[in-house]
């Protein structure tokens, strides 16, 4: 009881001191295997919980007393769409019965079908909901900017005056130098890419938010689009470099051609890993620094935890500022490399 009230006060302190950061650290789910009276608190389960996707938007509390925003669950099982709310599970106490299908959820949030039927999960998860918020934010700020640009022929004003330099930065410093004269065709895609990544990176820094751009499914989709765009715009000389590398002796061809083909996939693969790893790593570091307080409390006692918490808070604040930089940097790098790949695939050697 003492330890739980201590944690509450720490949370209050963190809420007061921080404006940013994913510090809604839930306790490891009341599971004694993670924590016992004489064992040091293990932060891994709660950190993993925070950077993973979920079927509900968890805000605070634990177990039956936890507070979450319920999200719709959409399951495709044997030709049927089963749609219900995540709150219908009632913290895992209830089962959902749809015709012959019975769904239950374990304490990790994994959904299973009781008779072993396989299903595809199209749920509006926490990440999808966060992306939809990002979509609304983007449509709102750029919709207003677009209207302003249409109606006002003079100097940009309001939100447009903030966004226009960013748009022109993407156009003039990322896209134009890397793609060359045909850049106009790719500009809408690359601008959308940049601002999609940037806004989702920044939304991910808000307290209690989802880890969108640190999810491999999302970075996979983004880099797969890059793969498609790059290869569909590849010209003769691009494919020539892959299937008939210039200046390579005939004997080396059987080695070089497979290497070049693998190279088609390694470039977007690196994009996928880079964004996912950078954003997830930032979230893990921030959560680890917060967890230090609980580790000190469980291992060394309350006094150690209280004296460590200001240090942890300062470090978290510092990390949050770095994460703001990383949010811009990763959006920049993803867009830059995509433009570079497109530029390399479309470059005219003659």
């Amino acid at each position: 009881m003492i330890s739980s009230s201590f944690k509450k006060s720490i949370f209050t302190l963190l809420l007061l001191n921080l404006s940013l950061g994913n510090f809604f650290a839930t306790e490891s789910d009341n599971n004694t295997s993670y924590k016992s009276e004489n064992e040091v608190y293990n932060p891994v389960p709660s950190i993993m919980h925070h950077i993973s996707d979920a079927h509900e938007w968890h805000l605070w509390g634990e177990g039956d007393k936890s507070f979450s925003i319920p999200l719709p669950i959409i399951l495709y099982t044997e030709g049927n769409f089963d749609i219900f709310m995540s709150s219908d599970f009632n913290h895992g106490h209830a089962k959902i019965i749809k015709d012959n299908r019975t769904y239950s959820v374990d304490h990790h949030g994994h959904i299973s079908e009781d008779s072993g039927l396989s299903f595809i999960d199209f749920s509006i998860t926490k990440n999808v909901a966060s992306m939809l918020i990002g979509l609304l934010v983007l449509l709102l700020i750029f919709g207003i900017s677009g209207l302003k640009a249409k109606n006002n022929k003079g100097a940009p004003s309001g939100v447009l005056s903030f966004l226009e330099p960013l748009i022109l930065f993407v156009r003039d410093d990322i896209v134009k130098p890397n793609i060359g004269k045909n850049y106009n065709k790719y500009l809408p895609y690359l601008l959308t890419l940049f601002f999609f990544i940037l806004v989702n990176n920044l939304l991910g820094l808000l307290p209690g938010s989802a880890n969108v751009t640190g999810n491999i499914a999302i970075t996979l989709v983004l880099s797969f689009i890059t793969l498609l765009v790059t290869n569909f715009s590849g010209n003769k000389s691009y494919w020539g470099h892959i299937f008939n590398p210039p200046g390579v002796p005939l004997l080396l061809m059987p080695i070089m051609i497979p290497i070049e083909i693998v190279g088609i996939f390694t470039k977007p693969f690196a994009l996928m890993i880079r964004l996912f790893a950078n954003i997830s790593a930032g979230h893990i570091i921030i959560l680890s620094l917060i967890s230090l307080i609980f580790m000190a409390q469980s291992g060394l006692g309350n006094l150690a935890a209280w004296s460590l918490s200001p240090v942890a808070v300062v470090f978290v604040l510092f990390m949050d500022l770095i994460e703001v930089l990383v949010a811009f940097l990763q959006a920049y790098i993803f867009t830059l490399l995509t433009s570079l790949f497109i530029g390399l695939a479309t470059v005219d050697h003659h």
Partner: protein, 166 residues
């Protein structure tokens, strides 16, 4: 919770990412990128136009000020020549006036001289007449007194004769 979950992409999430990204691309392309980039390009063009027309106006101004300078110079030259002319006229007028005046003065002086001469002659004549009258009267008186006795008459005649014979 196994750690593989982190690097296992969920199909549903990929599906929604594609849907949201493509929707975003279509909507932003239509409602944001096109109007914003068009506005930027239009503004660039209008700035370029304004700059070139300003340049044109500047060269026109230069031309105009060069013309102005020319006109000013001409005006200055004309002014100088007018002043010079006026000065010449003034000098000439003064000289003419001086000449006329001196001629006139000479005329006046000469006529004055003439008059003075005439007056002098007249005065002299009158004086002579007067003197002759006075001399006669004096002579009368003297004669009257001198010829009171015979001796003095004789003496006078002699002296007279002597004079005349010389």
């Amino acid at each position: 919770m196994d750690s593989m979950q982190l690097v296992t992409p969920a199909i549903g999430l990929m599906f929604w990412t594609v849907v949201i990204f493509v929707l975003l691309l279509i909507l932003l392309k239509k409602f944001a990128w096109k109007p914003i980039l068009k506005a930027v390009d239009d503004r660039n063009n209008s700035i370029n136009d304004a700059l070139s027309s300003a340049e044109k106006a500047r060269s026109e101004m230069e031309q105009l000020s060069a013309d102005n300078d020319k006109i000013l110079n001409e005006a200055r030259i004309q002014r100088d020549s007018i002043i010079k002319e006026a000065r010449d006229i003034k000098n000439k007028t003064i000289a003419d006036a001086k000449n006329k005046a001196s001629i006139e003065a000479e005329k006046i002086i000469s006529s004055a001289k003439e008059q003075i001469k005439n007056e002098k002659m007249k005065a002299m004549t009158e004086l002579k007449n007067e003197i002759a009258d006075i001399s006669i009267q004096m002579a009368e008186k003297i004669i009257k007194t001198e010829l009171k006795d015979a001796k003095s008459q004789k003496k006078l005649i002699e002296e007279d004769l002597k004079k005349q014979m010389n």
